[in-house]
């Protein structure tokens, strides 16, 4: 697929050294898919891999998409979506970022997510933490807080994000819920703080999303989000692959800081 070839300079740094979870659609996006964490054994010899230990103790070989060739090969496996963990394969217990996965309930929408994301950004700023937002490629938004420190742990990021989510729920009970139960979610935005775990993966920034339209998980500026929220216009919050390509060429990688900015969570 041409998209991945053209986006590769921007997406590869975010994929590098991360255990890829392939989401494979062998018969096209309308049909069934399956997740695959294990790197297919019939891989080319130049595909970089890593061995990781799963929860039960067994070892597993995973693919690392560290170069264009591997990216294309993965693409050809009909793995449209690229999901990666928050930590790198070499240090699977050290998250590089803390994430807030904002997921709107059935009767909520991406504009509600935008509202929550903006409040979250303000709270994080008050705590002296910079944050970055991207579309999930579906109805939601993902807010990342880069840490990039060796002493970061999932225990800390989970604890912190859970507490932040509960504080938001407490202060905006009609808009936010920190609880998973579907009945509680309908008109609210669910903050899935439990994604901050070594076993969980997030859709990689710039990855395609398997939908009828070729939507991409794309970074947004906070200003764009503010404008969309105040104008109540969700249009800009869904980015097609063609738009993604023209934007990165103009603006570069808006998510670059997520890879390099060093921050420390306070009050822990």
């Amino acid at each position: 697929m041409d998209y991945y070839r053209r986006i590769s300079p921007f997406i590869l740094p975010h994929l590098k050294d991360r255990a890829l979870t392939l989401k494979r659609y062998p018969n096209g996006v309308e049909e069934e898919y399956f997740y695959e964490k294990r790197c297919p054994s019939n891989r080319p010899s130049w595909v970089k891999t890593a061995r990781i230990t799963r929860d039960e103790g067994e070892q597993m070989t995973v693919c690392l998409v560290n170069d264009l060739d591997t990216l294309i090969w993965v693409e050809n496996l009909a793995s449209l979506e690229l999901h990666v963990p928050l930590a790198r394969a070499g240090s699977p217990e050290t998250p590089d970022s803390m994430v807030f996965d904002l997921d709107p309930g059935d009767s909520a929408n991406v504009l509600d997510c935008a509202r929550v994301a903006l409040i979250l950004r303000d709270l994080l700023l008050e705590l002296k933490l910079a944050s970055y937002v991207k579309t999930s490629g579906r109805k939601g938004l993902h807010v990342y807080v880069p840490l990039n420190r060796r002493d970061a742990t999932f225990e800390d990021t989970k604890k912190f994000s859970k507490s932040v989510s509960e504080v938001l729920q407490h202060n905006y009970p009609d808009l936010v819920t920190a609880k998973m139960a579907k009945e509680l979610r309908k008109q609210k935005v669910f903050i899935n703080w439990s994604q901050n775990d070594h076993s969980k993966t997030m859709i990689c920034v710039y990855s395609l999303r398997a939908r009828e339209k070729p939507v991409v998980s794309f970074p947004l500026t906070w200003k764009e989000l503010e404008d969309s929220a105040s104008r109540r216009d969700p249009g800009r919050l869904q980015v097609l692959h063609s738009e993604a390509l023209s934007r990165v060429e103009k603006e570069g990688d808006l998510f670059r800081d997520v890879l390099v900015k060093k921050q420390k969570l306070p009050y822990l």
Partner: protein, 281 residues
């Protein structure tokens, strides 16, 4: 005994008290007289009628709880870090464990042993402290019924001692209808003497006594506690009803009372920051 003041809005004040009381055991053990042992549970016999309020945090109406706090750190101390001490000299404490406390009167902390029976008429009411009911536990129903019935027929009460928590009580076990009630009694040396307030003029003037008797005779009646209402409570209920009509209630946020879990400081700090953010928005 009906509550004449129950209105649908405030019916929670009167409904179903007895049932709740029987379900809330304060203590369970055995009551014995001679070689008969009856397994029982101690439950409340009285409930305060005061209108109860919940203390709330004025900022966001979160409910407030009573917790033990370290005065220096101004932080809640979890139950696992709380110990009991006796102050031997100011600031210096001797630690006492629950087991040590219980071992002081081990035979009395699980058993109410009736040592003798007395005539209730002989008991000066000044000795009465607090009433409870005893409820039979499985297997003890028959012995319980027997004790209640024979005491009722003989018009006697059983005298016993028992230990509850840190204290030992002298108690009277008597029958109330077909139930057994237990009243804790004060010890003799806890009753203050009244010699110093007894009138010096011990002379009783017969005409004065007769005058009083005449007036009293004209006011004789049967004891009916239903006649008397707690006026203050009524006023508060009226106030609340008016409020309910004129204002809407505030909603207290849902709070999960996890004990010991949860980074308490973190939430407090985040909430502080959240407040600033809300102000600026």
């Amino acid at each position: 005994m009906k509550n004449p003041r129950s209105a649908p809005l405030l019916s929670k004040l009167s409904a179903n008290r007895g049932k709740d009381a029987a379900e809330q055991g304060i203590w369970s053990g055995t009551i014995s007289f001679s070689l008969v042992a009856i397994p029982v549970r101690l439950v409340r016999a009285v409930e305060p009628g005061r209108v109860s309020f919940r203390m709330l945090h004025s900022r966001d109406y979160s409910p407030l709880l009573r917790r033990m706090v370290c005065p220096e750190e101004e932080k809640i101390v979890p139950a696992g870090e709380i110990i009991r001490g006796y102050e031997i000299t100011p600031g210096k404490y001797l630690l006492i464990t629950d087991e040590e406390l219980e071992s002081v009167s081990p035979e009395r902390s699980r058993t109410i042993e009736i040592i003798e029976f007395i005539d209730m008429k002989d008991v000066d009411s000044i000795y009465y402290d607090h009433p409870y009911y005893l409820v039979p536990l499985k297997g003890g129903e028959k012995s319980y019924a027997l004790l209640a019935e024979v005491m009722r027929r003989a018009n006697k009460a059983g005298l016993a001692k028992f230990v509850l928590g840190e204290r030992e009580y002298l108690v009277a076990v008597k029958s109330t209808g077909s139930a057994l009630s237990l009243i804790t009694l004060h010890y003799r040396d806890e009753i203050l003497g009244d010699e110093d307030i007894t009138p010096e003029e011990a002379r009783i003037e017969p005409e004065e006594t007769s005058r009083m008797k005449r007036i009293i005779k004209g006011m004789i009646s049967d004891f009916n506690p239903d006649k008397y209402a707690d006026k203050r409570r009524e006023k508060i209920l009226t106030l609340l009803k008016k409020k309910a009509r004129e204002t809407s209630p505030v909603e207290a946020p849902e709070v999960e009372e996890e004990e010991g879990e949860g980074p308490a400081d973190l939430i407090a700090m985040l909430q502080k920051s959240m407040r600033k953010v809300k102000k600026n928005r």
